[in-house]
Symmetry: C2
Subunit: 262 residues, 2 copies
């Protein structure tokens, strides 16, 4: 695997921060920073992508929308990634919705500009390919997890995944929304969340969930959180400086994991 050294600049998105100075300048020239409000839909299934999105904070969620309108999350995207991998594959529409899960700010680039950059720069393609693989691994694991783990475990996993992607311990989320993400009823989320609260791992009130005990949450979640974190730290090994100064994410959980070879 090619080692990519992130330029030391004040860029909140990992992928962008990992670009060379020259390429970063080109990307910046065609990118636009816009706010991403809670629940805004960035990508509509089956419609041509207009932009690719690089979160600088907050996070996005890729969800499958069923015919009856219900939806289930496929994967989560934050500062470590981007929405629009399909463009790398030369495809301009996807069967999934992209929705803002935690409000924040995103950099966006039009499809046309991004295609041009991709065509021109092997460095960008190489980086995107790494991310593409990380994404595949995340989606595969999350899907397996959906099949076999309890709502409470998946809830803990989901909170951890999201916590890794925001800057504070407070996640602005309703239980209703969490239910949509996990593909379960809100009432099931209430049960799971109150169990986690009773255990002192989180606290919440009216659309605000606070992570109190990360290590405890990791213990309460299934192994899938660790597996998903590991996928990213393995494929995108270099962290920007600023991430290390935040809550002890990764310090406690992500490092030094290996596969169970079996």
């Amino acid at each position: 695997m090619k080692s990519i050294a992130p330029a030391q600049r004040n860029e909140k998105n990992w992928l962008l921060s990992a670009l060379s100075d020259e390429l970063y300048a080109l990307v910046t020239a065609v990118s636009e920073t816009v706010p991403a409000p809670y629940k805004e839909i960035l990508v509509v299934p089956g419609r041509p992508l207009e932009y690719v999105y690089f979160p600088l904070g907050g996070c996005l969620s890729i969800v499958t929308v069923m015919k009856d309108g219900s939806s289930v999350e496929v994967g989560t995207i934050g500062w470590e990634g981007m929405c629009g991998v399909s463009l790398l594959n030369g495809i301009d529409q996807v069967p999934t919705r992209c929705i803002i899960q935690v409000e924040g700010v995103v950099k966006r680039i039009t499809r046309k500009d991004f295609d041009a950059l991709l065509a021109e720069h092997g460095e960008l393609r190489a980086l995107m390919r790494l991310y593409s693989q990380a994404w595949i691994d995340q989606v595969g694991r999350a899907g397996s997890c959906n099949g076999v783990h309890s709502v409470e475990q998946r809830c803990a996993r989901w909170l951890l995944i999201t916590h890794d992607r925001v800057e504070t311990n407070e996640l602005p989320l309703t239980q209703e929304f969490l239910g949509v993400m996990l593909g379960v009823r809100r009432a099931s989320v209430t049960v799971a969340a109150s169990a986690l609260q009773r255990a002192g791992l989180i606290s919440y009130k009216r659309g605000k969930i606070t992570v109190l005990d990360r290590a405890g949450l990791e213990a309460a979640s299934c192994e899938c959180y660790a597996a998903m974190s590991e996928a990213y730290s393995r494929l995108l090994p270099i962290e920007p400086e600023w991430i290390k100064t935040r809550h002890d994410v990764h310090a406690s959980s992500v490092r030094n994991r290996t596969y169970a070879v079996a």
Copy 2:
């Protein structure tokens, strides 16, 4: 999307059949055809890939293996695809197992040879990218399905997916194995399978499941089967001639589907 015309040759794998004559000759020169017996493990999680595999019949299954040894399927690969997408992304190991789900024959190419071909031939990369996107879509949908649909629906979906990938109506599968794929107990499979049998959609005995009524099975499955088929027919639109002469797969179900734009 670039249109790729499959050469008219006797090649059972869609991806290979879609190559130009020159490239196909190069691929053939470095590939080796080997039998793939039931339950053989082709790829071990966390270990460097030795080969990429193109099924010519039968099918492979990518599964997540949990710490306790249980496993859940992430996706299925047959004549339409290949195992080893990660190499396109420059990654030589994956967190998932690849196991033979239905015995058959595969063409394999060493990682080294395949890397060399990839580096040399944009045509191969373009085709692989299409497949990579189809794979992502399949995995995402399957994972969502795991979260919200019943064992019986998922069982029907799984049988259809597999049926699409083999040449006969008889699937050599035990309920035990099916349980592993779906991530449920064998007893749950027995219940689901006997319901499908009672409805006259399938019949089975001792490791042999026969599809009797495809249309009925499609009705019994969730919408996810259609969604997954559609992903392939959209991204890999050109079918080899020989597939059309088999059971009425695709004729009844795959064609003329569109997204629910929402």
